[in-house]
Symmetry: C2
Subunit: 240 residues, 2 copies
């Protein structure tokens, strides 16, 4: 939403092959963003613009401008005359992030449940398809598959609400928490609880039950948060 770049699933974009790229700044932005997501730039790492520019085969200018955008996205901090710092996430950041997600997805569920019949049913069907994919991945013990199907469900929920600003905000928030999610995927026990809760959301939407959809979406995220945060603290993960 920030740029042309319109891949449906923010979780599994990455390469985005067929695009005619015109701007080196966009290249640098995409490359750095990807590097941060998959932790090739580890949190806490402090890079110099010169070095990144060299690695990407461009001059310092586009790297610098991309860094500004990344800073606005909350992924890095550019320290005056010191370099680019890849931001780490503390448990408290995860609390903040969850509150934003709880608020946004709750409202999104309401909006989708309030759509006219046809669009609403189509949305519910899309959501159910993602939940099916989660169940299938769960059945065959495919944890990464479960993770990306889960992400696809939530991305679809937001997308169906047809609110560009909400999409953009949630995507930025997801970028920030992506590493933490990947890391904690292995720790989570109650994958099937998520599946059941997703079903409940879809049911409420299909029925046009606005209130129920809001509450189901909220409770789903609240439970996930209450499951995750203690886990982070008990593992002593001060930054991730």
């Amino acid at each position: 939403m920030a740029r042309a770049r319109s891949s449906e699933d923010p979780e599994t974009q990455g390469a985005a092959a067929g695009e005619k790229r015109i701007s080196l700044v966009d290249d640098a932005y995409a490359a750095m963003r990807a590097a941060i997501r998959d932790a090739s730039f580890a949190p806490g790492y402090q890079a110099s613009e010169q070095e990144i520019a060299l690695r990407l085969g461009m001059s310092r200018t586009p790297v610098h401008e991309a860094a500004i955008r990344l800073q606005e996205d909350g992924l890095v901090r550019v320290l005056p005359r010191k370099g680019i710092l890849i931001l780490a996430l503390a448990p408290d950041d995860m609390r903040e992030i969850y509150d934003v997600v709880i608020a946004m997805e709750g409202r999104a569920a309401e909006l989708v449940a309030a759509l006219p019949d046809e669009a609403r049913l189509a949305a519910a069907q899309t959501l159910d398809a993602h939940t099916d994919a989660m169940a299938a991945a769960h059945a065959r013990g495919d944890l990464p598959g479960w993770g990306s199907a889960d992400a696809a469900f939530h991305a679809a929920l937001i997308a169906q609400a047809r609110n560009g600003r909400m999409s953009r905000i949630v995507q930025a928030i997801n970028d920030q928490s992506h590493r933490a999610r990947m890391l904690t995927l292995n720790l989570r026990r109650t994958l099937d609880a998520s599946i059941g809760e997703h079903r409940r959301i879809a049911v409420a939407i299909r029925a046009g039950a606005i209130e129920d959809a809001l509450e189901a979406a909220r409770q789903h995220r609240i439970r996930a948060r209450d499951e995750l945060l203690p886990l982070l603290n008990s593992y002593g993960l001060k930054h991730l």
Copy 2:
């Protein structure tokens, strides 16, 4: 939260005198942002970076980098090789903005209502003070005063939730809708309704009634939206 710049009330910052500014980019950002807020840069206006740089007495580079940040904030669009376009707001944008605000302030109200006793009571008191200011301004027919007290109330609500990401998001959204709010201030009829609803929010928070606080905050914004959007449409305001 984006920068050092930490004025309590995002509505009435502006000059921000006592700060030692070190970066021309920050200067340019602040100047352009202020110009857009008070409509010295009218929406739809297309400026060239060169021209702005000249007016601000700096070179194109800092202006360009500030423009990137403003674009990320959703205030302008930089058109490749065409210049900087000051974005206008369509009624549909206002719908999007209200949905975000409804979601965020609702959650914020919950969080504040869930604070421990002392903090919660202090928060309620702060909110009531702002509502008092609104009532006083209303009584003496001071519309701008009413507007800024109203803004202060909502800013305080978000601030008390102690979530930096929420604050940042709401501030960005408010920047976008600032012009529209100023413009429609004169059209609004039910100023006293707002006062009553603000009281209800504060009461719920003081009582620690989480559910009530959420619902009161949501309903307040929903009503305001339902009052404003038809107004915009009936006046044929396609962009503002």
